[in-house]
Amino acid sequence: MSDKREWEERTYRPFVAKSPERPVRFESLSGLPLQPLYTPEDLEGTSYAERLGHPGEYPFTRGVYPTMYRGKLWTMRMFAGFGRPEDTNARFKYLLEQGQTGLSTAFDMPALMGYDADHPRARGEVGKEGVSISTLDDFARLFADIPLGEVTTSMTINCTASVALAMYLAIAEKQGVAWDRVGGTMQNDMLKEFIAQKEWICPPTPAVRIVTDMIEFTAKHVPRFNPVSISGYHIREAGSTAVQELAFTLADGLGYVEAALARGLAIDSFAPRLSFFFDIHNDFFEEIAKLRAARRMWARFMKERYGAKKAESMRLRTHTQTAGVSATAQQPLNNIARVAVQALAAVLGGAQSLHTNSYDETWALPTEEAVTVALRTQQILAEETGVALTIDPLGGSYYLETLTDQMEAAALEYIRKIDAMGGIVRAIDAGYPQKEIADAAYRYQLMDDRNEKVVVGVNRHVMKEERPIKFLKIDEAVELEQIEKVKAFKAARDVGKVEKRLKHLAEACRRGQNVMPVLIDAVKDYVSLGEVSDVYRQVFGLYREPIIF
């Protein structure tokens, strides 16, 4: 009998017989069963070198860099964007003054869906969920006085990411910053849009083609730029389990690799610039295990499946964000505690970059006060707690390593299924990940409804009278002001030039030419984001989602 079984029979079970354990589910948030205890036996038969390896070495389980946070702390990157470009510019400057180390831009829904502020479909939505951007003029105001050669900027934008990249490069040029000095990240992960975030223009095949154009273009001309941030965040927020998030995110990554290889690019020419983005939810150890499993799995895929030679191609570098869905509208200050614990998980999981949510985000975009607390939470972790002083401090934990292996095995099952379906685009066409997520979300909600899962302040420790908090309201005048600005700006353009650029863009789309050079010229002649999107709509057609619920 194993030593652990002996302990169970000798000490544990007799004790439980007299003094029962709490009546809760002993399973991870993803439903993985948990044993009462993990011991060295659980790690027997595994090789340290094969499964973990030292930091900065294959398979990178313990971290992608040799020094990790001893060399450089994670980037503190608060996602910000609301109202007019100048409102967001002021928030950017405030965050930089407060010690934030990178920028992250939230765009409003019209910009994200390919409509200018003056389009009828933008009514009611301008500047609400992010910053309003229609033309290069808006972009210039957004980044006014921010040195693009020094600060890296992340942009959460997808089906119109090509326009944002074109505008960003045009602004850098105006600032006199050469493209090879420009660093940053476009989210630009269209596959997860179809799966989870649901912002799209055209169907998956042309959408992935534009992503591939950007991968190809940045590999050649903007080498410090991450052209895609392969995102599990939205998959998780849409209701997936941690295992599904891990699986579908890596499957999406494999989808981009396949597309870039089909374009004729060599794996080591683009793989080093593929970056990732994961959600950090409530289950502390499961989230850490997820990041460690993701690194190991990606390194193996790159090396074994695609024959990557460069270590950089095998390194899964990731941004992380605390879980928006875990925040509660009830007793909102409790979210500060949730965010702190999730942020700690991101750090112990070896993330390269982190956004901490603000406590008021179930109500609105964050106030300056709320976002400051969220940023300070990261600074406290980095500078007061000592967790950044040694590399992968939890490596070797019997529990964590076992959980990492379990998550990897469960995620590989999903990836095998997707491979068998012919890859992720086919799987999306069949509605497979969408259905898996909808089912998981429904199961999660039912657990909530039946009080099988404790949510402090919502179904446990509820307070009848709650003190209201102040939250940010976007002035309705912002919309009218942006509409007027965009209209005036468009009226002042050289219409002939705009039409010529749009024609060139449509031709590039039809002929399979890389759209990026044409787009950069177009935005410099003040072609708007909505006009580019109209070309995509005309040439590629509109995506219609399968209705799954």
Binding site: Y115, E125, Y442, E545, F549
Partner: protein, 135 residues
């Protein structure tokens, strides 16, 4: 002739907002509770939603908005229903909606608004107790 037909609810996502987790859960919960549910899918204009409701002879429309555009979108759906002579279709909804907006939207004619943390049971109960199938 007294047996009324099943209550029919259109669950809709108006505007550009892609957060459909809640809408899908509510659609499924109402379906599992025995109602007839039509889910419109994402990115619907108020015009499309009202057309669907009329075409499907719906008794209620449940709107889900998490983008902050609720004031415009709910109002527009109510206006269009009246214009098309379908003012008897009950409109309820949910999302990230601040208390003062809830009061204003209810005054405008929205029957109920559900905010984060609501149980699906509360929504089912609301539909069961407040929505009647048209004769």
């Amino acid at each position: 002739m007294t047996a009324a037909r099943t209550v029919r609810v259109v669950v809709a996502k108006p505007g550009l907002d892609g957060h459909d987790r809640g809408a899908k859960i509510v659609a499924r919960a109402l379906r599992d509770a025995g109602f007839e549910v039509i889910y419109t899918g994402l990115h619907q204009t108020p015009e499309q939603i009202v057309a669907t409701a009329i075409q499907e002879d719906a008794d209620a429309i449940g709107l889900s908005v998490l983008s902050g555009a609720h004031n415009y979108l709910f109002k527009r759906v109510l206006e269009l229903l009246k214009e098309k002579g379908a003012g008897d279709v009950a409109v309820f909804g949910g999302g990230i909606i601040p208390p003062e907006d809830i009061a204003a939207l209810k005054a405008m004619g929205v029957r109920e608004l559900f905010t984060p943390g609501t149980s699906t049971q509360d929504i089912i109960r609301f539909v069961r107790e407040n929505i009647r199938a048209a004769a």
